[in-house]
């Protein structure tokens, strides 16, 4: 649905993004992850046709952004980082204006506005002046604006920023519902958001793509090993020996000791669940198994690791 090739954007004094290429399938939710200033917003602005690229091409549904800007914009609903609201208008008046400039036919205008208000859950504030709404409502009016005319592609720049946890949950559910029939690209620097909503993640840092994969695969890629913590009541050295002999285990270390029980960190082969084997070994040896817990690396760790590696490569070179 979206194909980005070799995208580069240079400003007068700095390069915002360089040589970025990726593809988004129809119906997919793609997450852009990166620190502030990494180039997320710039990339989205180029895809939406807000600004032209210095080099490279973007195709949306077969149309090139620079050559056929109107065809591309017709297919995109865009929620910028700051929702573009005319705050002196009512929610209804604003959405009617958006529907008009997006070319919704006159006879559908009321239905379409009612539909997006329903979708974004703002029907109850339709008569209110936008300036008087809370941040959460404003964000949802912005989201409703992006949904007007039901575009097949949605570009959402930090859609959950400024929302409370309940609203964040609602927006995430909405985005998940939209997937399938819509292609969604969203950016965030909140890592759990990507894990919970996105099918694929692009991690960008300093204008370059650092990694592209599913959240799960990214974890495997960076982690290098499955890590499990076990707490066992039994003699430390014997436990270590026995655990080491269990198939799939690569490394065992004692990490803590309390009151006759010991805590061990076990590293196992990648993509192999050794938890039941570990449990069996311990129980069959007659020791007490107090706790067994898989410690997966969070995307947060992965993100920090990837961006740090990038840094080291640069300083090393």
């Amino acid at each position: 649905m979206i194909t980005v090739e070799n995208l580069t954007k240079r400003y007068a004094t700095k390069t915002a993004i360089e040589g970025m290429s990726f593809h988004v399938e129809k119906g997919e939710i793609l997450g852009f992850l990166g620190p502030n200033g990494a180039g997320k917003t710039t990339t989205m602005r180029i895809i939406t046709g807000y600004m032209p690229a210095s080099a490279g091409t973007v195709r949306v549904d077969g149309y090139e952004v620079f050559e056929n800007p109107i065809d591309v914009r017709r297919r995109i609903g865009y929620l910028p980082e700051n929702p573009p609201l005319y705050v002196e208008m009512t929610v209804m008046g604003y959405l009617r204006f958006v529907a008009k400039i997006k070319g919704v036919p006159k006879q559908n205008l009321n239905n379409e506005v009612a539909r997006v208000m329903e979708r974004a859950n703002i029907t109850d504030v339709q008569e209110r002046i936008i300036a008087k709404l809370s941040k959460g409502y404003k964000q949802r009016v912005g989201l409703a604006q992006a949904l007007v005319n039901d575009p097949p592609v949605l570009i959402l720049d930090e859609p959950t920023i400024g929302l409370d946890p309940k609203q964040i949950h609602e927006v995430r559910e909405l985005i998940k519902e939209l997937a399938g029939s819509h292609t969604v690209v969203l950016s965030t620097h909140i890592l759990p958001e990507v894990e919970q909503t996105c099918h694929r993640v692009i991690i960008i840092d300093k204008g370059r793509i650092v990694a592209v994969d599913t959240p799960q695969n990214l974890r495997f890629q960076v982690q290098g090993a499955e890590r499990i913590f076990v707490e066992v009541r039994g003699p430390a050295s014997e436990v270590i020996a026995k655990l080491r002999a269990t198939p799939g285990v690569m490394e065992v270390r004692k990490v803590a000791e309390n009151d006759g029980s010991n805590r061990f960190q076990v590293e196992g082969e990648l993509r192999r669940d050794i938890r039941s084997d570990l449990a069996r070994t311990i129980v069959q040896s007659g020791w007490g198994l107090l706790e067994l817990q898989a410690a997966s690396m969070s995307l947060e760790d992965i993100f920090l690791k990837l961006t740090r590696e990038e840094e080291e490569e640069k300083t090393g070179a």
Binding site: Y11, T42, R45, T48, G49, Y50, M51, P52, I70, R73, R74, I76, Y78, P80, N82, P83, P84, L85, Y86, V87, E88, M89, G93, F97, V98, K100, I101, K102, G103, Q145
Partner: protein, 258 residues
């Protein structure tokens, strides 16, 4: 076209949901009333004097309604010069400041549609402003019988003149995010175009001609005298077009700079 209408409608609503429209209208109506009254009494006095002279020297015809309307409408052109930057200052600068420019520039609209919508919205508000002067002017029709020709051409001149200033203000509002700065710069630019013939006073003949030609008010004189000269119409239309073209280029560069 429907897109352009939607933008015009939104801009006009924005004028009237902020104090700007009411302040500009009030001040303008107030000032035009005061000036009309002043000009009226001046002309009346001149009329009395010439009546007394007529008794001694024989009757001399005097077009009093014409003098009043000419004096009044050319004074209006100066007041409008101060009012129009208030109408145009927010057109693009507010969109930039609030980030709504991102909505307009990513909607399926061409830049030209956005610019035309805004230009015509400010133009419509200007026409409303101009129409308020019909109230004092109607006094002339109630108590006298002025020649309508020069009045109509004067209004046409004021319209063309106003639209060209609006186009200049529109261009300047694309340059900044601050509407006060947009207003001050527009005001300065218009003042330069107004006073450029004063500077011409001591210049060489060719330079003088050029500078006098550029003066934005000098082209209005013939309109108020009831003369429709193509050259003046072309002057205002070309000034408008140049300013709109600059606006177009400026919006384009807005995209490049981000």
């Amino acid at each position: 076209m429907r897109n352009v209408l939607a933008i015009i409608e939104r801009e006009l609503r924005a004028y009237f949901s902020s104090p700007i429209a009411y302040v500009v209208l009030t001040i303008f109506v107030f000032l035009s009333g005061i000036f009309f009254r002043t000009i009226l009494s001046q002309v009346m006095q001149m009329g009395l004097v010439s009546q007394m002279q007529a008794q001694q020297l024989g009757p001399r015809p005097m077009d009093m309604p014409g003098m009043i309307s000419r004096g009044f409408l050319s004074t209006m052109s100066v007041i409008l010069l101060f009012m129009i930057p208030m109408i145009t200052m927010g057109l693009f600068s507010e969109e930039k400041r609030r980030g709504t420019i991102e909505l307009l520039l990513t909607a399926p609209l061409t830049d030209l549609q956005v610019i035309l919508g805004k230009f015509l919205a400010a133009g419509s508000f200007f026409v409303i402003l101009l129409l308020t002067t019909c109230v004092p002017m109607s006094v002339l029709y109630l108590y006298g019988s002025p020649a309508s020709g020069p009045i109509l051409t004067a209004y046409l001149g004021l319209l063309l003149y106003g639209l060209s200033i609006i186009a200049i203000g529109l261009f300047i509002s694309t340059l900044t995010e601050n509407q006060i700065i947009a207003a001050v710069i527009s005001f300065g630019a218009i003042m330069v175009l107004w006073l450029v013939d004063v500077m011409a006073g001591s210049a060489e003949s060719t330079t003088k001609e050029v500078l006098t030609y550029l003066s934005i008010l000098s082209h209005l004189d013939d309109f108020t005298k009831g003369v429709l000269a193509t050259s003046h119409i072309i002057f205002y239309l070309s000034l408008t077009l140049v300013a709109l073209f600059l606006t177009y280029r400026s919006v384009d560069s807005l995209r490049w700079r981000g």
